[in-house]
């Protein structure tokens, strides 16, 4: 079973968590190092004392180290911490609890976050597989590089933790959104490869432009696979969003599939939210 990382937590918090969480959960109390990958933890807990800014910075770094995995980052606030909760959430935290919160409520919330993300069903693979294949193909054709599909999961958490996202709205027989999210350094590298120029010759405007074009190509080439099915859609013009932890809205009741790809020692994610409309064949 994957462990839960208690990041430099006090004895009080460690004991509380041991009591609140399942006895079988493996708790590791250690200090997060910036270079450490956090993909293999079930949950991360940080404790705040009077050092909120340092904690905010650490949450951001941890979120990057999660490499697009939906790992809950829980902030446990000390009794004297009155810092606005929203700041922790904006930095990448999933939930903010306090030592003064009722233990029963904390237990329920924490146990909820330990429920694993849902894996796709066979019928869902029907529309996800073309997105995987076309993402790999578009990246290969445009950059001569190799993107390898790593894994996928479904999430109802609408937050995307990347630096830049290309977003395209889908409408027609099926509705939804497709989002392509990169960390800044990989986006930079990919766009310079697409344009066949040195990375120094690339600016932010070209990166925005190129990421918009990539999501356009991924959605456009995948569309062909859905001709004659209830997953067929029409494309809107792409939009690009820049900034860590931005939120994307999706149609009510829709599940969001997060597809993670590895490339050049980094990762990127494609979020697919596709819902066939009622009454279509």
């Amino acid at each position: 079973m994957k462990p839960i990382l208690l990041n430099d937590c006090s004895r009080e918090v460690s004991l509380l968590l041991a009591d609140l969480l399942d006895e079988k959960a493996l708790l590791l109390n250690e200090r997060f190092e910036n270079h450490k990958r956090l993909d293999d933890y079930r949950m991360i807990v940080l404790e705040t004392r009077s050092d909120q800014k340092r904690v905010l910075n650490q949450i951001s770094k941890m979120r990057y180290a999660c490499n697009f995995r939906n790992i809950p980052i829980i902030v446990m606030r000390g009794r004297e911490d009155h810092f606005p909760v929203q700041h922790y959430i904006m930095a990448g935290a999933t939930e903010v609890l306090s030592l003064t919160d009722p233990p029963a409520a904390c237990r329920q919330i924490l146990q909820g976050y330990l429920i694993p993300d849902r894996r796709p069903l066979d019928q869902e693979m029907e529309y996800l597989k073309p997105f995987i294949e076309n993402t790999v193909s578009v990246i290969q054709t445009m950059t001569s590089g190799t993107a390898e599909f790593r894994e996928m999961y479904f999430s109802n958490a609408f937050r995307i933790f990347g630096d830049i996202s290309g977003i395209i709205g889908l409408s027609g027989d099926a509705e939804g959104t497709v989002v392509l999210t990169f960390y800044w350094a990989l986006a930079w590298r990919i766009i310079s490869k697409m344009m066949q120029v040195q990375e120094e010759a690339i600016n932010a405007e070209l990166i925005h432009d190129g990421v918009g074009e990539l999501i356009n190509m991924i959605s456009g080439s995948t569309k062909k696979n859905f001709v004659g099915t209830h997953y067929h859609y029409e494309l809107s013009l792409p939009t690009v969003v820049v900034g860590s932890g931005h939120q994307i809205g999706h149609p009510e009741g829709a599940s969001i599939a997060i597809l993670i790809f590895d490339m050049d020692n980094s990762s990127f994610a494609v979020h697919v939210c596709l819902k066939p409309m009622k009454g279509t064949s």
Binding site: K223, K224, V227, L237
Partner: protein
Amino acid sequence: MKVIIADDSQVMRTIIEKVVRPLGYEAMHACNGQEVLSLLEKGCEGIDLILMDWNMPVLNGLEALNLIRKSNQFSSIPVLMVSTESEDDKIRQALDAGASGYISKPFTSETLAAVISKAQEKRGV
């Protein structure tokens, strides 16, 4: 030889220009269909080819193609449609509107160069 590269993406215009230059084309850029028409009307003479993206703001590629084919002055200029959409009915729609060829994105440099050469041959260049 002169080519108008019409695409709302600067990245795509740059990629396409890198393919057409070695083929002997001098490239002019347009961000939408309206800019293509402006370039033509401004008297940019001797345009030998237009590479036009379909999905562009202001005036999309298909609308611009329709206007070009209806004009007396520019109707004979070959227009290659470039699009992320590769469904048969889209290709047919573009060809029916008078496109000289259709290129689906993503494309390799070799594919684009081959489609351009084919259009040149048709025109007897």
